[in-house]
């Protein structure tokens, strides 16, 4: 991703090396965000909490467990989920088509649901249905945000979008789309009130109930990548000012953790009603504003 300036003048391969570094850092950032989330949540509840690198320990442990699975097709879907999530991240960091990034991410989520449906567990089935509803609600908001950004820049290529920005960051033109992205981030982080697919007190682990060991570790890894993608898209709103972007991402993250620790889980109907009234209103008002006042 072209962060601020073109580095190719003093480093000829910067256009390949910098995106690759971002691509490699993306899962690590996602895992660190998950660890920070657990630590800050613990401090908010007056606990000590696990260390920040706890997700790395979890991942290392999961990859060293015994292999257990009920059938082989669920393993294929697990690998497909991981592969498409990494492909979406690759498209994003190499500034390809934004729409393709969005659809590749959705395809990865569909493979997660297929993996849930390929096992005999009823919890897995119920989690799969809830995951489908979550995808339907969240990807709608995400799609409208992508459309707004694309219509504003008159192109869906991320290179053109970043070139179109100039000195004025996108947050000035699309503050409501950013709020919609915060809702998306809240759901992607699996925080209350919208953690309906992984509601462990109702349905064991949701769509991942039948996965164990390294297969569950693969899903954890791709979840980290997903968090990284959403963070990178949110960072795009502040692009000429990196420090403003990082501070705003931190503020957004703390807000999401605070919301997660002070609310209770709604039903899937609650998620549906919220995203298709408040969320859709936010993105549509912003879309109309961008179309009317270009």
């Amino acid at each position: 991703m072209k962060l601020i300036v073109d580095y190719t003048d003093w480093f000829p391969y910067a256009n390949i090396v910098i995106p690759m570094v971002v691509f490699i850092l993306l899962p690590l950032i996602g895992l660190l965000v998950m660890g920070l989330d657990r630590k800050i949540s613990a401090r908010m509840q007056n606990r000590i909490g696990p260390p920040v690198v706890q997700p790395f320990y979890d991942l290392a442990k999961l990859f060293n467990k015994q292999e257990m699975y009920t059938n082989t097709s669920m393993l294929v879907f697990a690998y497909a989920h991981l592969a498409f999530m990494f492909t979406a991240a690759l498209f994003l960091v190499f500034t390809q088509d934004f729409i393709v990034v969005f659809f590749t991410m959705t395809l990865a989520m569909i493979f997660l649901v297929l993996g849930a449906f390929s096992t005999p567990s009823p919890y897995s089935f119920m989690g799969g249905y809830r995951e489908l509803i979550k995808i339907f609600c969240i990807e709608t908001l995400f799609l409208f945000v992508v459309l707004t950004i694309g219509i504003d820049a008159k192109s869906f290529l991320l290179g053109d979008i970043i070139g179109h920005i100039g000195n004025l960051p996108m947050i000035v033109k699309m503050p409501l789309s950013y709020v919609a992205m915060v809702i998306v981030f809240l759901v992607v982080m699996e925080k209350p009130p919208f953690n309906i697919p992984s509601a462990h007190s109702e349905i064991v682990q949701g769509p991942l109930s039948d996965y164990s060991g390294r297969w569950y570790g693969l899903f954890k890894l791709s979840h980290a990548v997903e968090i990284g993608i959403v963070l990178l898209v949110m960072y795009m709103f502040f692009i000429p000012y990196p420090w403003l972007g990082l501070i705003m991402l931190l503020v957004t993250f703390l807000t999401v953790v605070l919301i997660g620790n002070t609310t209770t889980r709604t039903t899937y109907k609650g998620l549906f009603k919220f995203t298709f009234t408040v969320g859709l209103a936010l993105v549509l008002i912003n879309l109309i504003a961008v179309v009317v006042y270009p």
């Binding site: 657990r38 613990a42 606990r47 909490g49 696990p50 015994q66 109930s209 996965y211």
Partner: protein, 175 residues
């Protein structure tokens, strides 16, 4: 190691001592990562066989903010496929033997079993009742016994720590 030596003999290549040393170090490093990471994120599965719920409440107290088991990376997963530590509370009755064995079989290796409270340790006051199928060790291989009626959260935490030390020794000792 023996297979590596045989292969090198077949190919008429003398074993490179540096390479052998590197392989040994690599193996030791992998084992270290394995044991260190496993003891840092034990996920619990709590099974109550139908006792008085006293021990269950003490386990929940250990997970709650005052004792905060999560600072050791412990999470209470209600799923045997993801759990590493099985906590059994309550006396083992005839009706719960089959579900207990089923849960134990679904857990992936490496795994440890803790008997929490007097009932699974030695059947307690229900000793030789008509519906009791003996202490837990007759059903499952128990790694750590945590006595008490009910054990305090501190005792349960110490039991979990001892089980993890045992678990680390198990991983470090395997070939």
């Amino acid at each position: 190691m023996s297979s590596v030596n045989e292969k090198s003999k077949e190919g008429f290549q003398p074993a490179n001592p540096n390479l052998e040393l590197f392989k040994l170090k690599h193996k030791a490093g992998v084992k270290l990562v394995k044991s260190m990471s496993t003891i840092r994120s034990p996920w619990l599965l709590h099974f109550d066989t139908g006792g008085c719920n006293g021990c269950c409440i003490e386990i929940l107290a250990a997970l709650a903010p005052r004792y905060d088991l999560e600072r050791f990376g412990v999470l209470n997963k209600g799923n045997p496929k993801m759990a590493d530590v099985l906590l059994v509370t309550g006396v083992v009755t005839a009706g719960c033997v089959e579900p207990l064995l089923n849960l134990y079989k679904q857990m992936a290796e490496p795994k440890v079993v803790l008997a929490i409270g007097a009932c699974p340790c030695e059947s307690g006051v229900f000793h030789q009742c008509y519906n009791v199928r003996g202490p837990l060790y007759k059903i499952l291989p128990v790694d750590v016994y945590v006595p008490g009626c009910a054990p305090r959260p501190g005792t349960i935490i110490e039991g979990v720590k001892k089980a993890l030390a045992l678990w680390q020794a198990k991983i470090a000792g395997e070939g």
